[in-house]
């Protein structure tokens, strides 16, 4: 998956248009990145990529770039 595809994927998870996100977008600036959004992110990473996170793992993810780094670390991002 390319970085552009990954940002599109993140946008779908948080129900926003991809052009509203960059790597630096912080979770505080994404309305749907609330407690339900965090769980949706966990479920989507699990279901779509087999990446299983703990609550502690997720608390460390604060930006879109952190999500991309996670995907890269798990070999899902080229």
């Amino acid at each position: 998956m390319t970085q552009s595809d990954a940002i599109e994927w993140v946008a779908k998870v948080f129900e926003v248009s991809p052009d509203q996100l960059t790597q630096d977008t912080h979770r505080d600036n994404v309305p749907a990145w609330d407690s339900l959004g965090v769980l949706t992110l966990m479920a989507s990473l699990d279901g779509d990529f087999g990446i299983v996170l703990t609550d502690d793992d997720v608390q460390g993810i604060k930006t879109v770039g952190d999500i991309l780094d996670l995907m890269r670390k798990n070999g899902k991002l080229t």
């Binding site: 339900l36 769980l39 949706t40 966990m42 479920a43 699990d46 279901g47 299983v52 609550d55």
Partner: protein, 155 residues
Amino acid sequence: MRFILVDKIYELDPGRQIIASKTLPADEELFRDHFPGFPVVPGVLLTEMMAQAAGRCLDADGTRLGRAMLGKINRASFRDWVKPDQEIVLHAKITQNRPTYATADCFAEVAGRKVCSAELFFVFAPHEQFAADYQDEILTAYWNVHPDMQPKRAR
């Protein structure tokens, strides 16, 4: 109308899948408005029925520190009308089952015909939020018939 939208559990594999049923009687007041001269079960109630069936499946494994609560309706489709007094057979298969969330693929059928389906997302509310003596009467009825299925934690 009480908001227990499952009458009976037919089959239960805790945390994995469930078959249950619900029948709304023709004298339920909601049918006066939905709709006059054409009483049919509202789609939102069919969705809640599927959610309650799936939620009980999740709660039945007794391993969590919380009760299943519907968090998102990822997808729902309503393909046919459901009339009063028809037995609605509810099917739920748990597709993701993690400590803090779960997902379920659900459908309902009447007389063997699929009438609706939904993909549902669940979160979990701590047991302490609920009445201390609360026990789900539908699961309890099932466990009374299948005592070996009751998780040790819930006994």
